[in-house]
């Protein structure tokens, strides 16, 4: 019998990222699921892929202070409008100015050999 999965959940997610898309999954009764999985939580049922519109709201935020020669950076939990939450980073503003409740939109990083493109966020104009 052949293996069930030709592509892993993460592999599909990365393919979408490479196309500039933030992908997530939904259960058979339409509930959003993130992170990508091989089967639905709770029910064990099947999952379908969807592409997010990429709009969301900052749910929680911190500013990480690394080595002395590094500028501090933001790490946030973002609630996407489709109803799932993910960790990300809000860029292009002072990380201390990232506020809970701020509206944000997704932007895909360029990626390189080590790290495939991944979604970050920027503030939606006028949301501050």
């Amino acid at each position: 019998m052949p293996n069930e999965f030709a592509k892993s959940p993460l592999g599909v997610y990365i393919e979408h990222c490479k196309k500039g898309e933030l992908a997530y999954q939904v259960t058979e009764d339409g509930k959003p699921v993130f992170f990508p999985r091989a089967a639905a939580p709770v029910t064990g049922g099947k999952l379908e892929w969807r592409v997010s519109k990429g709009l969301g709201t900052v749910h929680a935020t911190t500013v990480v202070h690394g080595a002395k020669d590094q500028k501090p950076w933001n790490v946030a939990l973002v609630d996407l409008d489709e109803g799932f939450r993910m960790m990300s980073r809000v860029e292009d503003i002072d990380p201390m100015q990232v506020k809970i409740g701020m509206r944000v939109k997704v932007r895909m990083t360029a990626g390189d050999e080590k790290q495939p493109p991944y979604p970050v966020f920027t503030a939606v104009e006028g949301s501050r």
Partner: protein
């Protein structure tokens, strides 16, 4: 719930060497040292041990290493690893094993040399595809995200967080084996090096070596031993999530469930507890646990700890050892959380002893507010 209130007791408790241990000491050296000290504390022998509980981050097979080292052939063993609350889980599992007749004398042991070998070497960081690219400084940033929600929803301030660190330091100054030896002020906490906002380095637990062991046996056997025992009145275990992105509500931990279980089994309420040992990995954690365990309403934890309320002389004795913030934090610190609660019930705490401490509560936290386990201990008078 099969476990019965007071069916087993912690009869021996001991720390290993702490702080910065001798060069080349191994986690197993520390586990063995603490095991022998804990046996000496209760007057039992190595050959009495028939159940072994051990897990640590520097080896995948802590039980095998401790059993090989001390030549123990356990009838029962368990190396459940759910982070810093593992040892409260071990205690609950030991109680079940002893009640079922699968074991008679259990040891729970832990050791870490994370200060000596560096934290990176002691606890290799897992790559989490959906988190690691954003470079959170884990676990600190996960707890910082939870703190940001608590501040946003309930008006908790950085000064409230700093109160927790200052109280811990005041207790630590009464503990001769505590790592920190100098006083600490709110201003010093606020102005220390920022790690992951809102936490400065003084909001974060220490990175030390250390370990410990406790010996558990049936209540009947406990009464025949040379020293007073700490009877297990209630236990509760609850698992929430693995990653902070998947925590259902950042301001409510699984301690609400583990605490409910433990209080129900003990037939007690928060006002019966004379001393709390709450896992203080970061200054936000005792605030969350005071709320979730029912010592104050949800959202009031910051205001509850203000004005030295959990410091010596305050309204509630919390983390009398000085806690993970000022006494010792060797990675998975939960066993030392338990040991202080055992000692308070046995009246072993000297200068920092809480008066008439017939009931204490030890709460363990693992991962990123992920696994919560609560143990309520009582003196013989509470049976």
């Amino acid at each position: 719930m099969s476990r019965k209130r007071g069916s087993v007791a912690v009869v021996g408790a001991a720390e290993s060497d702490l702080g910065l241990v001798a060069p080349e000491m191994s986690p197993t050296d520390l586990m063995a040292q603490a095991t022998l000290r804990a046996l000496d504390d209760c007057g039992l022998k190595l050959s009495d041990i028939d159940a072994v509980f051990a897990s640590h981050s520097q080896s995948r097979m802590g039980v095998l290493q401790l059993c090989e080292y001390l030549r123990i052939k356990p009838r029962y063993y368990d190396s459940t690893i759910v982070g810093g609350s593992s040892f409260m889980a071990h205690l609950a599992h030991a109680q079940t094993a002893i009640e079922n007749g699968d074991a008679e004398v259990a040891v729970i042991a832990y050791g870490s040399t994370q200060r000596s070998v560096t934290r990176a070497a002691a606890s290799s960081r897992e790559f989490l595809y959906y988190e690691s690219p954003y470079r959170p400084f884990l676990p600190s940033s996960a707890y910082a995200l939870a703190a940001s929600r608590h501040m946003h929803e309930f008006g908790t301030t950085r000064e409230h967080l700093a109160e927790v660190a200052v109280a811990a330091r005041k207790w630590a100054l009464m503990n001769p084996v505590a790592w920190e030896k100098e006083p600490l002020t709110i201003e010093q906490v606020l102005n220390a090096r920022m790690v992951s906002y809102p936490f400065t380095v003084r909001d974060c637990c220490l990175v030390t070596d250390g370990g410990g062991a406790i010996i558990i046996t049936s209540a009947a056997r406990a009464k025949s031993l040379k020293k007073k025992a700490a009877y297990v009145l209630g236990v509760g275990e609850s698992i929430g999530h693995a990653t902070i992105s998947n925590m259902p509500d950042l301001t409510v931990t699984a301690a609400a469930e583990s605490g409910r279980q433990a209080f129900k089994m003990a037939g007690l309420k928060p006002s019966d507890v004379r001393m709390l040992s709450l896992y203080d990995a970061f200054t936000i954690t005792p605030i969350l646990f005071l709320e979730d365990l029912g010592f104050c309403p949800k959202g009031e934890g910051g205001r509850f700890v203000a004005n030295g309320a959990i410091a010596p002389g305050g309204k509630l004795a919390v983390n009398t050892s000085g806690g993970g913030l000022s006494y010792c934090h060797p990675g998975m610190y939960g066993l030392l959380v338990l040991i202080e609660a055992v000692r308070q019930v046995r009246g072993d705490c000297g200068q920092r002893q809480v008066k008439d401490c017939n009931v204490s509560l030890a709460h363990g936290n693992g991962g990123v507010l992920s696994s919560e386990c609560t143990v309520i201990l009582g003196s013989e008078s509470t049976l």
